[in-house]
Symmetry: D2
Subunit: 386 residues, 4 copies
């Protein structure tokens, strides 16, 4: 048993840390960002920086052009990348592309990989994952899936509405989860400019860290050839599991970086700001919050590492990634909320990156399964209800 980083990993950690600090954080106030995330122009500029630094798409296989990182190596690198909200975009490890890359590596056909995965890994294309639907469709409960796929010759005709589709605006292709006539679910790949796909609107969201924001997509008689089925027909949910645990975990990693950033902002402020005859940091009330932050940050890190090591040993880790997701999303949020409190008025204005982190992070307790769904799933396994 060992939790010390190898020299190689320490070097990669340090390299990423410097890259983010020196080359990426200066862009954080770049005006080419809107409430729907950084512009494509800015994104491409950042991608080039990561490419030059040798840090682009590090989780992809070497064959596809990445660094072939293991889960535990991702844990180290993604945390560093997440220190800036622009880091994951620069390094091409943001959601949903990061998870889609993983998914395509695992289950796409060689032809599909050449067509969709390779440009994605190269940072030349963007993708989205169309799963969530408006009521009464699939939300926390995927079994309520209502978008339909009807066979027509060798093709499938897709109809339905999806929302909260992160990155939809500007994406080059989409992975669609739809229900066949027999009730089973299947994933389909489609270019976004195919006839029958319409971006109805971008949603007005609390976060602004995802390129392309969150869109509402309408599929109207979208025709998809049979060779664009992703994975096996009728095994959509099962195949998507491949994406599930790792995608949960990489969210935990990136947000850990953001939470650590918040803590650094708060500590710097607490050292500097005076009140009632001493610095804020010399007040126990503030000091306790900073200690609690450290505990929450390291607890998050340990659960990430523990689960990543388990995935690296070849286990599915569904229980453990559920647990890590609940713990990280709640602990990292507490950190950010405490930091806002320490900064006082400056915490709720754009004087630092903190307000943006606060707005960006709240959704993490909800997407990829809200805490309540994960708790219940854990409970059933622990008690053996099912």
């Amino acid at each position: 048993m060992d939790l010390s980083l190898s020299p190689k990993l320490l070097e990669l950690q340090e390299k990423t840390r410097s890259f983010i600090k020196d080359q990426i954080t200066p862009f954080e106030n770049d005006p080419r960002q809107s409430e729907h995330g950084p512009s494509d122009e800015l994104r491409k500029e950042l991608i080039e920086l990561a490419r030059k630094a040798g840090l682009l798409t590090p989780h992809a296989s070497v064959e596809m052009g990445g660094l072939g990182l293991s889960h535990i190596e991702k844990a180290i690198v993604f945390e560093e990348s997440g220190y800036s909200s622009l880091g994951p975009i620069a390094m091409n490890i943001h959601a949903p592309d990061e998870g889609n890359i993983h998914l395509l590596e695992e289950i796409a056909t060689p032809e599909q990989k050449e067509r969709w995965l390779r440009p994605l890994v190269a940072g030349k294309a963007r993708s989205c994952f169309a799963m969530t639907e408006p009521s009464p469709g699939a939300g926390s409960d995927p079994s309520m899936l209502s978008t339909t796929a009807t066979k027509d010759g060798d093709d499938y005709i897709i109809n339905g509405t999806k929302w909260f589709i992160t990155g939809a605006d500007g994406a080059d292709f989409v992975i669609i989860m739809a229900r066949l006539d027999d009730g089973s679910a299947t994933m389909f790949l489609s270019d976004m400019n195919a006839p029958g796909i319409e971006l109805l609107r971008n949603m007005d969201a609390l976060d602004s860290c995802f390129t392309g924001g969150h869109g509402v997509l309408q599929f109207t008689n979208l025709r998809i050839p049979g060779n664009q089925i992703l994975g096996e027909l009728g095994k959509g949910f099962k195949n998507a599991q491949v994406r599930l645990a790792p995608a949960r975990l990489t969210h935990c990693m990136r947000w850990l970086g953001q939470a650590r950033r918040a803590q650094d902002i708060a500590i710097a402020y607490a050292k500097r700001r005076q009140a009632f005859g001493k610095t804020l940091g010399e007040h126990e009330g503030v000091g306790f919050m900073i200690a609690d932050n450290n505990m929450d940050l390291h607890t998050s890190r340990l659960h990430i590492w523990d689960t990543a090591l388990l995935l690296d040993r070849g286990e599915r880790g569904n229980f453990e990634s559920s647990r890590a997701k609940v713990i990280c999303s709640e602990a990292e949020w507490r950190v950010v909320d405490r930091c806002v409190q320490i900064l006082g008025g400056q915490g709720v204005t754009g004087e630092t990156q903190l307000m943006k982190i606060f707005k960006d992070m709240r959704g993490f307790r909800i997407y990829d399964g809200p805490s309540e769904v994960h708790r219940w799933s854990m409970a059933r396994k622990l008690i053996g209800n099912k």
Copy 2:
């Protein structure tokens, strides 16, 4: 002892509730709102509605044109008004005007009242209160006040910078707290268009519910005649106490209305949305959150009422209003946070009013004294340190 509402108060409660629901909530998506709050045009339109309904500036004295509400009557009426973020603006009981009206009623001279208070009560003017300063000036610790007032004949020359000045943009006049040469503090009244006052910028804030947003003001050799001193010379902090406890409490009241609104949105959603074979509301996990919300809402209400009744008995209520402020700002926030969680993805997008409430309310745990300052102030009194 009695906590039942008199028929007269029940009627006023019902009247306000209907007014807000029928006449004000329809404006909530009115485009004349920006990140710095509703436009002045929208504000005036709403004010006219309240005037017609007989609900304008109800806390002002009858003499000045209000309804002369007691503190406990305000507790009932302001909670109802706060049910919509636009309610307090329509009824002219928003911060900081509401507290400034109270302050001017208590300590302004008759001439000052005619000049500044009367148009304020009539909803024709807006005001701001310039206290908070950038580091190393006055923040949570008012004794660090650094804006100076230097006597020059019968006038005073004001120099300094203030920030987080709510409503500064568009305000007609300002109350300025400044330090005399002898170290004592004094409040001054000034028209905002006086030479020497400059609005440097509006701050980029998390909230957008205050007309005029939060500004940064620069005073450069601002000349103020001696008859524009508000209250007594050198008694600025003591005089401002008049504003303190009531202003804290009216924040609690208005935000209680917003938190109740959040709960109503969440309950409606929990009744409607299905997941895992039943409505959300039939899941214990969601039900417990709704029960906890009810507890937090009523706890807030009881502390507001308790403190209001105490102020109505003529007590200063500094301890009790500190306590109510901590309890309400934290309990009402928990309510809103839980509601976001119940709504899931819709909680972090603009599909309902909830996201706006979430963004608007976070600052309440900070302004008018962050929880930590109030806790420490309470502790010292309880332990008798000082």
Copy 3:
């Protein structure tokens, strides 16, 4: 609306406070107490003190020998009485006698009152209430009642086992909830020395504040004449409702007194004990805990008062007393837990009354309905599930 105490009530409050402090607290280390509560000898000695002070059984009707206190008057007096764990025993307002007195006043026949209520009010008899059963019988879910009552001529034959029967050991009579053949529930009165009642054992409990502890009772062919039915046949649950809300609330009141005692012990210690160059109370970390305690104490008090005033207006208050019970049992517990932490090693040893309060109070979050059952009951009403 008014929350100030009348001069009469202030006088009663002060009188009770002095009585507890001067006459009762000196008995707290009296050796005539075991893990199953104070001995009957000690109890009688204390009862005599309350009788002389005019404070015995103050909630009973004047007709029966009490002071005929309203619910809000009880709120004031019971909190004071609870300041000492022996106070409620001295004043004959401890559980379960206090609730049984209330129940008998409301629904007993005149003959039943003379036989059982009068000596109970006089402090000459003790009673118990036999409801809870071992699994699979009635616990949190009363519908699982399994003790049977079979009609035999004019009599009823009772068979079953009850546990957690507070005060059973030494009680003079018992109120038994049993199920008729038709499934309905009925309450029966019986002397404890009737043939067919056996006290199997006293349970080893965390608390030691209830006279007689908590017993396990076996009913074997216990014969009860028809005139010992309490309330209406088949209306046992409905009739017991009379006891429900007030009994919950008086628990809240008495434990509020104990929690206030804990806070006083902690403040005294924080003023005195030095660490790291100042008193404990001068450390913000400790000060914040004491401020939080004050908030929790007053929140409890306000919910008690609010619900008591509602009961005094003739409402049933089931929702409100559930809410008050959850809030008080959790808030008062937090107070005691924080006080233990403040006292450090002395908090977990018998150097002060605090450790006893800690042990005695934990059960309050469980009996009279655990928090979870009340939360769910509240949720259903709020959401309108049922």
Copy 4:
């Protein structure tokens, strides 16, 4: 990086688990236990069982008769041992002997080891550590040490009072921290039957899991030869640091075992007990508590492992062991408190081991430094105050 157990460690884990379950838990209701812990007779009987099983004093060096476990190996074995409150006593790894063995291995002279350490490792002797003093002496703040050691020839004369001395009653020897004339602190070894040592009383404590309970010791002109100085003269605090981090951590390990036991009791109950038409475990409210318990247990485990691995790498780990101590003592306590709630009435009576665990564990948030002292110590390091 790797968190999987080696086959050797898995075997030791399984062996310990079986030993505790099969041979030790049957003694849990053995009557030879009082409020001051198991009797010496029972202790010796258990020690023999561990000796036969090859599990006695496993953390001692092989040279001294132990298994020479590393810190991470201890983490695995001690958690298993702690599953029963009698496990650590049987295996001779209970406090304070476990820490004293570690301390003596590190800093005692060869002669001291033969005289005091060898019989301690063999389970033939018991020891205590006399540090804490009544006010105004050393409590959370060790600098307030007031017991004096005055040089007299080659000897030292000790005077002072110590309390909360775990295991004092029945101990064979004591390690005493005392202050020299120059203000520096030194540790001394003394047989407990030396003239001048008096056990004034055993304290009435909430816990009953430590052999010998917690005593008050009086030193009156206790004469100690110079060769009984433990470590260096005047370096008492520095030398005691050796004991500090590991002793904190082994508490975390043992209590993790107890908390896991509580969870197992709660799960078994939740599977069995019916309420409102289903098992308790099928209620989300209960399920969420069980999921939270699992999170708290594994969080504790990960912090223990992380810190143990760090100590095994030769680092001092003061910060990390402070952090682990706060996290474990609070998380493990939450587990036990939730389990009590799940069991309802049975949680607050001696029907299961749970009530004992509840009483035994509360002190862990206090001893070895209360959470508040550790939080402040962490804060200073994080902020760099000092």
